[in-house]
Symmetry: C3
Subunit: 668 residues, 3 copies
């Protein structure tokens, strides 16, 4: 079995679109560029099965073999994202249907329903055939299922089959319609259902629907796509021992924890801009935490994103740091989309490594530099992993759905707020959190943040977290956490489902923020406006960490801490300003030996790494600005060969791979 | 028969959504808050009739009785706004249909067609049953029909039944299709109809339709909802002698004059913000003028509006002034929406008096203060009424429809302009107009303003106003008035339908304003830009009040006055600036003894009140700023017990109820 | 045959909408205004054929005859833009269908499908009848087909008939589906068609379709409307010898070159504002170049545009210059829309010459002044034509479609960029280009600009231009030119289809611009940012005109010149700034004796004219600012009678018609 023993660079390759005789020239260029892997097959169903039941694999074997001979591995993709025209024509019932009842039109991609049995039958056939043909091919190092799975349109696929499937799941979940009525609170607006057949499906986007119904329906949509991925994974696992994954995008409506239960490897696509490059690290901190196995960054642009138009070329150096990020953060591959620019179609203006006519792009040298860097630092990188910091931050797909359909306070966007107001302050302060799902195990962590986590009722999280706290964990929870049932309703005994009982505090008043915001005075001395939401807390014996200083809540607590067993719960009644958040996590972190990398510039991504025989760090400058990196130990930069110590300068868009306790060498 | 002998505070209550055993606790809290009335039943059809023909009234009687025992009255609502799921399922033909032919989806509210006979049958059944059950209940002080009636979607309900009804009304109105063709002017664009069946129905919003058709269709929609209200009123009047109303919103497409012909009481819902609180007084000046009987403010928020998200919490004191406004302006009740916050559903984030878990909100004390104030000032308030000022301002539902489909000048919004550029300057100058429909009687008025009233042909207004002018009335008309027929077409003999004949003036040129505007020099000395529209008038013997000073109309009159009989007509060719408008109304007012309350700050709402045995005023500060109120007589503030005279300071968001010629007392 | 021997003023007249007895009064006013022609019949189908097969021509003959007696000519229009209600009712299948499959609703205009055979049958009948009735009428000077032909909705008419027609054209164009697959590049996304029936039609706007399909479909739509125009032209040509045209709007999706192949005269409607009045000259430079025969400006507003609302009144003098523009630029008529304002309907607020009630508008005197000016300068104007400058600029309908569906770089709008960044700098520098289609003959030109012309494969342009260059032409091409095949795909052998082979240059790198832009250093000394797009060129022997000074292309050429035969090709790799563009065209122009009118203010439109016996120029001030016009020869202003020489002052919105070598006279 083929193994690449160092981080590797690659790209998406579409040989189905080019003359067979061009492969050799492409390979020569790939070798020049330092490419180690090509990702192929993704959309090529009509070349694999030009007519129903008639297969053509010769062209694909030839490409795989030629690549193999050149030492370039392959990631093979199932082409199910683009069922061919003959299939849409013969079976229009496979087309996804939007919330207005209008079927998708053939002509783009992602046009099939994930649950449709006829589509599934054709999927089974093509995937099985691929498995037979390529499952044991030594040059294939892994598999990708479909492409960028995500609920269709505004409400996912709304076809009759999906509706039936959902209704059956409701029956199974609730047992009786009375139980559903009770769980969702349907007495208002005469919404009581006498029968499951009355649940209005699909919940149209032009209708003001019950948020419990909408949340439930979109959770079903996520499950439907997970099930579709599982369906293919089961087939592929029969034919291959190579890792199977599915390439996912930085979106919220598909539950990434669920989708990876059956998968072997995490694959991730991102197309961030110069402005929001840091957001990629949020997703990579999530990718890393999903599996032990290093993830693959399956898609990113070399120099500009585009479809039928190019969007904003990136500056020199961007490709360098963008290519290094997944490697630094625990991945082992970075693949560009795409190798050779398309000469036609919906994405013909996307940036690439070489142009449609086979000419290297202006970033070609930057690509080679990255490839060389991966080689030079390969041994260190493959023998170390990002050090676990003991700090975790929750991101929940269920929370995403709940907030989508009940934002609770005007302007609130869960994912944006989580990234911008929690995650970003932490990483700029050089904390290195894992981003985890509430279903994830907590054993590896000593400090856990759960802001904006409306329900604790998913995946038995409430029991788990309480046990973990009792055993010594420090849990920072709120604002807007523990305020909804599993079915997206409020509790009626208290604002919180569990926190009052666990901590003995009482939430006296709840107030929305924005535009009105209130002063919070922190014990540590500083004072600043809170934001988003305001719970006014009576401590009832808990330690007060912050008090409201004005407004209707003046004198009530804005943040409290309660010791429970060996651990503690910190309840935040409002969202602190960046500085106060970092102070708080700093204080709590010190208690459990979680320390940020001290003194590094905030525009620097610093990832300490450790392994059995080596230690060091990767540092990447993310904002095209100068930065400074203090070192406490002597280290060698494996890219430049420099010996580094003290405060090291990091030029804009630079990367250093620093190994401790190594002799300097000359870089050739 | 139960009577509340003073202004009263109340709230919407949804016992259908809470355990029966919770009522007692709620009542205890209501009494603490000073609640005198609960509004119930509004959406509870599925609790009243869980399955077709099977009724459950026990729970509702129990609540009404318990409230009654506690001294809390009830306003009972028909639940027809939310036909239950079993009805939508059995008779999907009752669902309202939008202009694209798409039926409403069950799951929200207001989803039924107002004219559908099957829906009407079910409405008759449930309303009759309610009437039988509760029509003679002594604790019920009044009835509300449905909730917030308003045309569905962009074009009202467009179902086949509505189309047929409308077409029949057209046949009846015009007699022959030739008459319709003539009235609408269909010769252009080959729009001539050979037959009523060719009238394109429904007039889709995606088609560039004839404005006469659109205006006519939306007038039909208004009638359809009026008819639906009448249908229920007729039923209720069989079973009860308590006043019947329907709670209406501050919108324009339902004709509020028409809807109240059969109703006994005006009910009004509003959710104004801190910024536009003053607009509520426009609507309340309309509510007061619709009926002799004091109106009920049936809904308003205590502290924030919300649906699945909270929108902008209001500052301390807002609840005070917002609660007092309807009482000051001639209402006798203020009810909050809602008593206890919902725990689920589409509106679970709306502000309330107590939270979903029964905890008082931060504004609870402000609510109690208002309740106390109503008691203290109750005798004075219930023995006086806002003094009629003799001044009236027209608001016409027909004008609203005409301008919606022919704004005449880019950017013109009838209701916004009427409120912001006419009404607001008047009330900031302390005039106290009634806001009336052109169908309303004019006997009570000496000065009448009719800006933006495109047609005089509704409700025989032309004859009426001329007679009223001859008898001594002063009528200020224009700009954009008397320029359309009843069917929304221009006159062809002159720009005005009547004004040239009545006043002998000639309109030489008509010019749209915006962005170009022109200087107007007023006789009184000031000079300022006009706005919106410019008619250049030749006085031909009329008195010139203002001349254009530049532009193509320079030298023509911008405003003229013509004496007719005992009265006069003032024609405005353009919309004056705020200051000139106030000067003009001041001058004209003085001639007919209509005087503003002199010297009060513009941010103050000052409402003089008088009765057989008492006189005084209510003053409310609307903008959270300090204000000054000069008093010409000694008065006692019934809320504070203070004796007031001279210039009285009004703090931000303060209220004073000042009774003249009363001995001071100590407020306990 | 009636001839008007000088430029003439006219208007659209809708006698179908007014009482017969009003015609005389209208004619009296027309004579006062100086009207020489009325355009009638445009939408009057229901008055011509009130019921199927029953015709009424009497009213129309009467109007034509009365006008004729008064010396006012007529342009007769076919009313096919507004099929009457009886036709839509009897044959709803004639209604155009949008891309969602929804038929147009009767009630507006342009609601019929251009290819529908039933509609065509009725069109043939009414047009033939009109031809018989009026084809030989001596008072009719020309015909207009339909009104403002343009593809329906977002994707033109998408009815089954249009789909079939298109599919048949595809079959004919490509012969086999394999050829189509090859031409469009359908291998990606499994888009390969096994059969023409699989081409997804209509290509819905809500689906992410292949740009080649979209471009091809919209070219079909253009052909469908051209064919519809031809269909009517063929009929009319049987009955009349007067020129036949169709009035077109300044839009891009109908190919104006194609539509005029069968037509005799160019007719143009425009409604420009004070801000973009200069854009009219772009379209008039195109109108003039389409036919030898002087074009007619068939519609423009006197003082404001409007529908159900008036949009922005224009300042005094605008009507003067707006009326003179078409005359200056090679037209012989200017017609207002409309004579008398409508009294009802969708356009009742549009500006006119007289109001709905027959009163002259405030611009009436300006209209008369223009009419007088046309008379005074008539002999000169009708005996001269705008001098051909030898300079041409390409505008391509195919390019328009290609860029609509693949803008290539974010924010790029072909028509806006062509007008604002190429055409406007040229005319402000006083160049006088023809605007021509790639299908147009090049013999008259010495300098040709082809920016943003993605394909050279239309109308055998590639062969033609190369031959023209070899024969001495100077061709300035790029950026974004020669980079697509006829079917909207990229070339795969080189970035350019032809330019590398022709000029020997090599395009090393291609880079999108915006937001990143790069410095270009021009040989002539100046240095400025380029824009839109950046091709980095290796000259390989060509002359370098400009080099990139920074960024990834630093050192590569931004503009090169290659001599070929007697001529030369100048390739632009980026779009120069206005100043550098003008410098370049100035330099190249001097080489081929193309010189701008030197020294005139940029806000002046200066149109040199020449004829057998006279020469001179028309100068129009376009921006309501003062301007200066230097004269090298003595000239008389035919409007004022002034003798002019040296630097002549042009007041804001003034017009001068200057004839050289004429004795001064006194203007009465």
């Amino acid at each position: 079995m083929k193994r690449l023993n160092q981080p590797f660079l690659g790209a998406a390759y579409y040989p189905e679109d080019w003359p067979a005789e061009q492969v050799d020239g492409d390979i020569a260029l790939m070798l020049r560029a330092g490419m180690k892997v090509m990702r192929i097959g993704e959309f090529a169903w009509s070349r694999m099965e030009p007519e129903e039941g008639s297969y053509d694999w010769a062209w694909l074997h030839r490409v795989v073999n030629k690549l193999g001979k050149a030492g370039i591995a392959v990631i093979m993709c199932t082409p199910t994202c683009t069922p061919p025209a003959w299939l849409s024509q013969k079976h229009p019932e496979i087309l996804a249907v939007n919330d207005q009842g209008i079927p998708a039109q053939h002509g783009a991609r992602r046009h099939a329903c994930p649950t449709n049995p006829i589509y599934r039958k054709y999927v089974r056939r093509i995937v099985s055939r691929m498995g037979k043909e390529f499952g044991r091919d030594a040059n294939i190092i892994g598999w990708q299922i479909d492409n960028e799975l995500y609920p269709y349109g505004k409400r996912g696929c709304c076809c009759a089959h999906c509706q039936d499937t959902y209704r059956n799941q409701l029956r199974k979940q609730f047992g009786s319609v009375a139980a559903l009525n009770q769980a969702w609170g349907t007495n208002l607006w005469s919404q009581t259902y006498n029968d499951f057949s009355q649940v209005p499906l699909p919940p149209r986007a032009d209708t003001w629907h019950h948020p419990s119904l909408l949340t439930s329906w979109m959770q079903f949509q996520s499950r439907a796509y997970v099930d579709f991925s599982n369906y293919q994974a089961d087939i592929l696992h029969k034919y291959t021992r190579k890792p199977v994954g599915t390439d996912m995008m930085p979106y919220g409506a598909l539950n990434y924890y669920d989708v990876h239960r059956k998968l072997d490897i995490v694959q991730f696509n991102h197309y961030n801009s110069m402005e929001n490059l840091w957001e990629s690290s949020f997703w990579m901190d999530l990718c890393r935490s999903l599996k032990e196995r290093p993830f693959w960054n399956t898609e990113t642009a070399t120099c500009w994103n585009g479809s039928t138009m190019a969007n904003g070329v990136k500056k020199p150096g961007f490709n360098r740091v963008n290519s290094w990020m997944p490697i630094a953060l625990g991945g082992e591959a970075n693949l560009y989309w795409l190798w050779r620019a398309h000469w036609s179609g919906q994405e013909l203006m996307h940036g690439s490594v070489v142009s449609s006519c086979g000419r290297p792009l202006h970033i070609f040298d930057e690509v080679r530099e990255v490839a060389n860097g991966f080689s030079q630092a390969g041994e260190f990188l493959s023998s170390t992993r990002p050090s676990n910091s003991g700090l975790a931050l929750h991101f929940s797909g269920l929370a995403y759905s709940m907030f989508e359909f009940q934002p609770m306070v005007a302007g609130f966007n869960y994912l944006e707020k989580l990234k911008n107001s929690i995650y970003r302050p932490l990483i700029r302060a050089q904390f290195r959190p894992d981003v985890i799902d509430p279903a994830a195990d907590l054993d590896a962590y000593r400090l856990l943040l759960s802001p904006f986590l409306p329900t604790l009722e998913e995946a038995k999280f409430a029991d788990k977290v309480l046990e973990w706290v009792r055993a010594g964990g420090t849990w920072v929870v709120g604002p807007l956490s523990d305020i909804r049932t599993r079915e997206a309703c409020k509790y009626t005994h208290a604002p919180y489902g569990h926190l009052e009982a666990w901590t003995k505090i009482v939430c006296r008043y709840e107030l929305p923020g924005a535009p009105a915001d209130y002063q919070v005075r922190w014990n540590e001395g500083s004072s600043a406006l809170g934001s988003v939401w305001y719970d006014g807390l009576e401590p009832r014996g808990a330690e007060v960490l912050a008090l409201y200083a004005d407004g209707p809540l003046a004198g009530l607590a804005a943040a409290v801490r309660q010791r429970i067993g060996q651990g503690q719960i910190v309840v935040l009644g409002t969202l602190p300003r960046e500085q106060e958040l970092v102070n708080l996590i700093g204080t709590l972190g010190r208690e459990v030996d979680i320390l940020p990398y001290a003194g590094a510039s905030p525009n620097l991504l610093v990832v300490p790494r450790s392994g059995e025989n080596a230690a060091g760090l990767v540092a990447i400058e993310l904002e095209n600005q100068p930065a400074r990196l203090p070192l406490e130990r002597l280290a060698v930069d494996l890219l430049s060969g420099e010996l580094c110590s003290g405060e090291v300068a990091m030029p804009p868009y630079s990367v250093r791979v620093l190994q401790y306790d190594l002799q300097p060498f000359t870089n050739e």
